[in-house]
Symmetry: C2
DNA sequence: ATGAAAGCGCTAACAT
DNA sequence: ATGTTAGCGCTTTCAT
């Protein structure tokens, strides 16, 4: 069987409490005693039983991270950041994915998928504010991403409207006059709404068209969805001179279709993506993209969750804005772009 | 505070045991009683405390998955499969990453990163057999991936030597005569050894060169490493007519360099990757790749771990071979390849 | 500075 | 079919 505190206490000829004191680095232990107990611990190979500790303290040392899908490299990279940030606080990460489906997101938010956690970081897509309003679960919840909720939860995100405007502004500055948007999502909810809004605002401000014929809705947010959306726009006979995509995989899927149809990027059509995934730096044409500060987002999310475990006074729910910047590459600048070997 | 069994029992006017019986779907409970207790459960919003259950039963319902890096889409996609496979057995997944560094892999295998788990699935890169030989930890361990260990643990993998041979065979069949290998890893350990061996065997069998000048070692396995390796080979003045890369990101990085240098794929140099990540289907030139059956690998890994929790007789350690196949695309076949819109 | 004992919430053995 | 109780291993008062 496993070695328990009791076994160590018997072996060292002291009480359970003393062993516990040593294990937990309690202050008032004489060096001699500490030494003696440590020897028994080593001799028996004692390892604390976390389940017992958790039961006693009401903490598990686990936070859950629920993302739409790992297949999207943005989320995979974000997960890596969260794992490291959590580890810095001696926390480990339970990972779940929702497929961006409302039903799964509700289940996760209510704690039905994982009930052993101290806190939850959730990046929702279809989830509605009402789904969270009557949340019975009392583990702290931190929201991530571009949905805009008016709810008493911490929310970490970049300013998606401003970021989208910056992307479109870049295209306009390059002389583009007809900018399509790829990736408005089909269905009731509208996860891409902030980016669509930014796109529309910037075009309108410049006196350029932002009609529905320039917006392609999709079912998902993968390469194939971007390719299909691009193909659909071209089928209508419309020939925009630029495309702003909801994310990088969609932008890359769109570039594939343009390439097949003999259209040149950026000469015929310039493209901007969103998320700055590694893949975008290594295509035949590297991808200009909005680059959110993933590092900060993941770190802030972890810190926000853990801050609410303090017990006492919960701070006011905060909206935290993470940084972002636009990385200019060949899909808008052509071969004049820097970083030709993907090393930017 | 949280609602406990005791609270529910008091509310329903029954004993703790009866509530427990209802919660655990115990057989011998009258429908009337079940109904009554369930009402109290709902009324109070009772949720079982897993820490307590864990302490009592010695099970957590959590398995850990430790991967080299999430940034590699192969591993991200595999993680998704494992999460789903675990969910099918009411298990949830704790995710960790090792960076492929031996030190981290040892820590994980010894359970120092997460001690609340029922089982562990580990995909090692630098880990040596000796590191596992004196493993004190007693939670079941299942190994994943291409290293070849002679150890009493279940190991799920595809036949990497045969898969590499099939990839090189394909290149030879297309008339290529000088096939480079990109991605042999620097350092003591040799995680790519099986793929290098397959490459060497197939070339030798065909009477073609397989000298060291055709092998490019790298420090990592990302796009940038593949690009750097390709650039280094070209700098030597050597002009292979084909490249077999350790994985898809490296292959894509290599293609970027060839493109920059004005070399055409596949006309001048054909390329085969490994892992069949989504990204490979959407480049300007789609990537021929060895496609392991990720679905099977993830599912088998979960089933293997859980099979060892049965308690009683542990089955003999097994080597399980998952399926794979070679997907032929433009990077070897040119524009004649099928699936021009990435939909294969 | 160290010891004794209660109890976290649950399950399982035993009793009724 | 339901109730009683011990105890999983630990932390935490409260004593000494």
């Amino acid at each position: 069987m496993r070695v328990s505190l009791k076994d160590v206490a018997a072996h060292a000829g002291v009480s359970i409490k003393t062993v516990s004191n040593v294990v937990n680095n309690y202050q008032h232990v004489t060096p001699a005693m500490r030494e003696r107990v440590q020897q028994s611990i080593d001799a028996l190979g004692y390892r604390p039983n976390l389940a017992a500790r958790h039961l006693r303290k009401g903490r598990t040392g686990i936070i859950a991270l629920a993302l739409p899908e790992l297949g999207n490299p943005y989320f995979a990279e974000l997960a890596a950041v969260v794992i490291d940030a959590a580890a810095a606080h001696d926390y480990i990460v339970l990972l779940d994915h929702t497929g961006g489906r409302r039903e799964q997101e509700v289940l996760v938010s209510q704690g039905f998928r994982a009930r052993v956690i101290d806190g939850l970081i959730l990046s929702p897509i279809e989830l509605e504010a009402d789904d969270l309003r009557d949340r019975a679960e009392n583990v702290p919840l931190v929201l991530l991403g571009e949905r805009d909720y008016d709810l008493p939860y911490d929310h970490i995100a970049i300013d998606n409207v401003a970021a989208a405007r910056a992307a479109v502004r870049h295209l306009i500055d390059l002389g583009r006059r007809e900018v399509a948007f790829i990736g408005a999502r089909r269905g009731h909810s509208e996860p891409a709404q902030l980016r669509v809004r930014g796109w529309r605002e910037e075009l309108s401000a410049a006196g350029l068209p932002a009609d529905d014929g320039l917006v392609a809705a999709t079912d998902g947010w993968g390469h194939a969805d971007g390719a299909a959306a691009m193909a659909r726009i071209l089928e209508t006979g419309r020939r925009p001179d630029a495309v702003f995509a909801y994310n990088d995989p969609m932008a890359i899927g769109a570039m594939r279709v343009l390439h097949r149809q003999g259209l040149r990027v950026p000469e015929d059509i310039a493209i901007v993506g969103f998320d700055d995934v590694v893949e975008g730096r290594f295509g035949a044409v590297t991808l200009t993209s909005v680059s959110p500060d993933k590092e900060a987002i993941g770190r802030l999310a972890v810190e926000s969750v853990l801050a609410r475990l303090g017990g006492g006074e919960s701070p006011e729910p905060r909206r935290v804005w993470a940084d972002y910047h636009l990385v200019r590459r060949e899909s808008t600048l052509g071969r004049a772009a820097p970083g030709g070997d993907g090393q930017d």
